[in-house]
Subunit: 241 residues, 2 copies
Amino acid sequence: MYSVSITVTHTSMSSHKAPKEDELRFAVLASDTVAFRLHNNGLEVLLIKVENPVFKNMEGLPGGLIKPTETAEQAAVRHLTLKGGLSGGYLEQLYTFSDVDRDTRGRVVSVAHIALFEPDEARLEGREAQVVGRWCPVNSVPKKLAYDHDIILKTALARLRARIEYTTIVRHLLPKEFTLTELQIAYESVLGHELDKRNFRKKILGLELVAETGRTRTQGASRPAALYKFARPGVQTIEIL
Amino acid sequence: MYSVSITVTHTSMSSHKAPKEDELRFAVLASDTVAFRLHNNGLEVLLIKVENPVFKNMEGLPGGLIKPTETAEQAAVRHLTLKGGLSGGYLEQLYTFSDVDRDTRGRVVSVAHIALFEPDEARLEGREAQVVGRWCPVNSVPKKLAYDHDIILKTALARLRARIEYTTIVRHLLPKEFTLTELQIAYESVLGHELDKRNFRKKILGLELVAETGRTRTQGASRPAALYKFARPGVQTIEIL
DNA sequence: ACAAAAGTGTTTCATATACACCCATGA
DNA sequence: TCATGGGTGTATATGAAACACTTTTGT
């Protein structure tokens, strides 16, 4: 079924003598995902119990093998469903980690992704799946994670913080309808610092990224907040020059 | 030698029944590189003759297999040396292309990179290597390239254009010492539009990205130009917010 | 009436843009 | 002296940052 005929005529495959298939197919392909959600006004990552005895009692990122019949992205989705009962969510490729010794058990190349979940999507409900993970505030993540998952997480955080500044990815951390305060808290949670309310609103509204839904939400004993939605579908890039 | 023991206890590898090693190592890992240089005030890409008969008479990107003992980056460097006699250069990971059918001969997952060469480094000199490539102006690239290399090139160009705006990657397309006019032409070539000379210089000097070397260069019958170098080593990110 | 969160404007400062002429050199 | 590319400044407009009070609701 996945026994494919590899001949060595491709520019991407030329070599002086034709290698045997064993030499070509030497690595295991994996997919590890850094899943984020917002909770209690903070950014959280999904951590998973690791069973490899080398990393006894350590946690790591959810992930798993890529199958012959699926892309790296499809594998990421599948493993999130399997490990966390997570469905939906937004996925974006992060980086491919190919260090020769990154896995203790042999050559494993990992295509890492970032996943973002809206609050409703982010419940860990293992129905048919065994749920072995927990959401952990990014500031409380154990210093050491299994494998090179520290590095993957660090890379993911840097990327998320960079991209939230010039894209509308933040939308995938929020429900369809949200208040401007919720949007501001989302930015603050990811960036790790506070923003001025008036300037924030001026900027967001000025860019016409969001539109009023006309609906409002009342939260306890206070003035009702207008509900907004993102004006255009998908993640858009904000022109900076 | 590359017979590694893969057991299925990793969080990244759990599955209901343990697959055999053959099933785990099903894909060929490749590395394709989009190599850029500046030449005649324009941006050029390195294209290579493709030997796969499915893509008869088509060109593609330089690339090749990743070996069991090297990272994706090391493979990229090795193949650039092999195919183009190119050494040195700056390399940055672009994206991993894992579509199941992207290669006609079976499952090949490609970790693509962007490579930037300074004018001196960018000569195609096949010494021990067979040189089968040519530098092609980005605007004259054939509409159809082999495999999914159109998409890889498009992705690379978008990334390069984005990153030149908020980093100092452009340094790797220029010699160590350069005039401000050369720097401006580099930006214009990559971005594809002209810039105002006075505003450009004000901005570059204001950011203190470059420093005068004290040396000058005389070009024909005109005033000598001051030579600059980048002030700090490596690619730095320019704060935009 | 009060507590709690929503909403709103102005001033100041820095950066972006538009634009045209003089300078140093080799031929 | 002329042709060639190098180098410079100012005025205007736009966006960023700092900053505090009023509004609407539930209790």
